[in-house]
């Protein structure tokens, strides 16, 4: 009864709240809607006004058409492979009574790709399977092994993005466990029958969701194809980038990026749809009644363990290779240990490091706060404004980075808002692109906080602002920290959007890694990557410590670092 009230509570109309909403809309207008509008106008207009000619031209161009097809095929393959790997890990962790140590290790393995610069896996692949690769050249003695192409790109992306599937599937599989599977057992089903008739059907929406998450990530991935795809596998994000940086054709790049828009949009809405009507499993909200390790038969258990172990070892091997490459003179040619690569990044590379840290450290608190405020407004408002805020605040997150980057480049290059070349544009890009994690976590937490707790504060005389700062904010602190963590991690590791926004004054570590890779300066590239991983691990650990210090024991929820 309390929902859907037209007799509005006074909190709805208080001036502070109105001021916040107006400010928010100004920001969303400037940093989400305006750039997108500029991009569309640029792509769909010429001297004579509106035209579809450029987009028709792009679709008629065999090269671009091939890039579109490649992008879609690649994303499908990566989605399937990544979902399979994620399911393998999630099912093994939840169903085979693994030791706690093994679970810890898997948590770490899954975390690594999420907090690494986007080239990390690609660099590892080049080191392993390239012409002088550890495996192809040294181990197998192959000459001129060809690492570039479909196979390596697909595998590298699947390894980079399978954690998304793991994180989405694990709670689902945990929830299906216990009672439901035991009920099926008690009715006489064999283990395989139970898996096939209960576990798998109940996980299907989750599998679909995981597939779409990875599909979208792969579709938007810019870094991996740039390194590994080679000349025979053009994909849209790299094509758009080369169109702009190589041919100085901003309009052509805009049109190409828009070809991504339709599949990305479809996937986004399909995924939201799946999540919203998630499944029968979560309706009770009970995660209790876990399986008692009865899921898999002993032989199957060993198979699952073997699969997990193989993947885990391979990922660890890639990271070990990265560390090794960062600490030798020339990987594959001269294995003498040296700190030269680190000397290089801390001398020549220091501007990039400084810029990146400044941008990340400014973006982090702003993004965290933005996420919490927007999440609060979404969870605690009603009607049309709520839905508008929810949708618009998700746009930059849902769009592939290439589109957002090109849109910003077009929008903020000319008056009235000239921001090109500033730190502001990069920070704004990160905040509006990577805060939705904080927003979603805030909404989820607030849905568990009874409204009467805030009403109690009002009834005791507190204003809206006071209630927010002294009651609501402490309760959603974990969401705030999740927002901080995500924005920081992304600010340290992202490249797809911001590669269009860097300048002589402000550059980023990820951009330097890319430059090093193209100059075949692999040592510094590896050293930069190691540096980023260490900094990200250190900062997220600090955030976790701070969070547990700042919340009372009863409210402690760890939430930093694992959200994509």
């Amino acid at each position: 009864m309390a929902a859907a009230v037209t007799a509005r509570g006074p909190a709805q109309s208080d001036p502070f709240r109105v001021a916040v909403i107006v400010t928010l809309w100004l920001l969303l207008g400037l940093f989400v809607l305006y750039p997108l509008a500029c991009l569309l106008v640029r792509a769909f207009s010429d001297d004579g006004g509106f035209t579809l000619a450029p987009i028709v031209g792009a679709l008629g161009n065999p090269t671009h058409l091939r890039a579109l097809r490649n992008s879609l095929v690649l994303a499908t393959l990566v989605g399937m492979l990544g979902t399979a790997a994620g399911f393998l890990f999630a099912y093994t962790v939840e169903r085979t009574d693994m030791s706690r140590g093994a679970k810890r290790l898997i948590d770490l393995i899954v975390l690594l790709p999420l907090i690494s610069p986007p080239f990390t896996t690609s660099i590892g692949f080049v080191f392993s399977f390239g012409p002088r690769g550890l495996i192809t050249h040294d181990l197998l003695g192959m000459q001129n092994a060809q690492v570039y192409g479909w196979a390596s790109t697909t595998c590298a992306e699947a390894l980079t993005y399978f954690p998304l599937a793991f994180l989405a599937l694990r709670p689902l599989i945990a929830a299906i466990g216990g009672d439901l599977e035991e009920a099926a057992f008690s009715l006489g089903g064999s283990r395989w029958q139970v898996f096939r008739t209960v576990t798998l059907p109940l996980t299907t929406p989750g599998l679909g969701n995981a597939f779409l998450l990875i599909f979208a990530a792969s579709l938007a991935d810019f870094a991996t194809p740039l390194i590994l795809a080679g000349n025979n596998l053009p994909v849209l994000p790299t094509d758009a980038y080369l169109q702009i940086t190589g041919m100085f054709d901003l309009k052509g790049g805009a049109v190409l990026s828009l070809l991504l828009l339709v599949p990305a949009g479809l996937v986004f809405f399909a995924q939201r749809y799946l999540v919203e009507r998630r499944s029968y499993v979560t309706i009770t909200g009970k995660i209790g009644g876990r399986a008692h390790g009865a899921g898999a038969a002993p032989a199957v258990r060993w198979l699952l363990w073997a699969g997990c172990a193989a993947l885990t070892l391979f990922i660890l091997y890639l990271y070990a290779l990265l560390v090794y490459a960062s600490a030798v003179v020339a990987f594959g040619a001269n294995g003498t240990p040296t700190l030269d690569n680190y000397r290089v990044i801390f001398t020549e590379g220091i501007p990039a490091i400084q810029d990146t840290l400044i941008i990340a450290l400014i973006g982090m608190p702003l993004g965290g706060l933005y996420g919490v405020i927007v999440g609060y407004l979404i969870a605690r408002s009603r009607g049309i404004s709520r839905h508008m805020i929810e949708i618009v605040s998700m746009i930059n997150y849902a769009l592939p980075g290439t589109i957002v980057g090109i849109a910003y480049l077009i929008a903020f290059n000319d008056p009235p808002f000239v921001l090109t070349g500033t730190a502001t544009i990069i920070i704004a890009c990160y905040i509006f692109r990577y805060s939705p994690t904080g927003i979603r976590t805030t909404v989820a937490l607030l849905q568990q906080v009874d409204r009467s707790i805030e009403e109690a504060s009002f009834s005791l005389g507190a204003s809206t602002l006071r209630t927010f700062t002294s009651v609501t904010l402490p309760l959603i602190l974990p969401a705030f920290f999740a927002g901080l963590g995500t924005v920081f991690i992304r600010a340290m590791t992202a490249i797809s959007a911001t590669i269009f926004l860097v300048s002589i004054n402000w550059t980023l570590i990820t951009v330097r890694i890319l430059e090093n890779m193209t100059e075949v300066a692999l040592g510094p590239a590896a050293a930069f990557s190691v540096f980023v991983i260490v900094v990200v691990l250190a900062v997220t650990s600090l955030l976790n410590v701070a969070l547990s210090r700042m919340t009372t024991p009863t409210l402690r929820v760890s939430s930093v670092g694992t959200a994509p």
Partner: protein, 360 residues
Amino acid sequence: MSAAAPVGITLRRVSAAFRSPEGAAVAAVRDVDLVVEPGELLTLLGPSGCGKTTTLRMIAGFQEPSSGEILIGERDVTRVPANRRDIGFVFQSYALFPHLTVFDNVAYGLRIRRKNSDEIRTRVTEVLALVGLGGFERRFPSELSGGQQQRVALARAIVIRPRVLLFDEPLSNLDAKLRVDMRTEIQRLQRTLGITTVYVTHDQEEAMAISDRIAVMKDGSVAQLGSAEELYRRPASSFVAGFLGRANLLPATVRESGGGNVTLEVAGTTITVVSAIAYAAGTKLNVMIRPERISIGPLGGPLDGEIVSRVYLGDKAEYVVRVGSATLQVIRADPPEGETLAPGMRVGLTLPREGVQLLP
């Protein structure tokens, strides 16, 4: 503790419109007129969906009425937000701040009022002693039992010395025994502090135990307002009769009326009852008879019936007796040992002359 003289609460033609999910406007509360006297404890009683909680939330200011006005004392607070109404509100869910200790929960309202820390410490200590929670200052809400949490919620609401105290089903999450203790305690505190109080419940026993007056609500309106005894003895409608206690409602026809008596034909027999109102012969009406006022005995009374069921409850026994086409509930206090009444037996019933309410 409360220094200021208590104030009354006045509701004038207050309505609340909700919009149903289909978009149709639904009146949750319609044209309620209600005066809560200074210092009294008035209960809003009714089944779920009757508008009692909405009415309370409008008094609190959590919700604005769609029409009508609300006064606290002489002050029109209709458009005043909750945080400027000077109220104390006790929630069904307690709504304790989970991140604050008991002390900080109770001190919250005092800090908002910028009291100095000495005064805060004194008043919090005092009020915690008053609700029997001295020594619990450093605990977190999650470390307390339900009853203790309820006491903290109560302490938090009264420590600010509000002009009115509002309770929204405060005891519904407690077990039966604790509920009785807590309602006694709430009543004691309210009497001591003399704060005008509105209390919402759906439990008629709780309402009768605690209230100075009860407003029985139905479908967004006040069906009847009065003391527990008035409502029980002289319900104005069959709804009130059935909601407060148990009642036999029987259709009856007036035979003759006059001299403070009415003779009625009911359940195939004729009874004469006391009535201040005279009715024309032939008037159709309903009679309400409380089950405990019907006496049950061996055959030969004015009414014959057959026992359908008997439930023995220790201090009383409850019977369902079929009389002609009607079914009567009968309660016998302290049934004698060796009573042999059993289903299927025929018995005699005697209807009372007084305490029979004639309802339209």
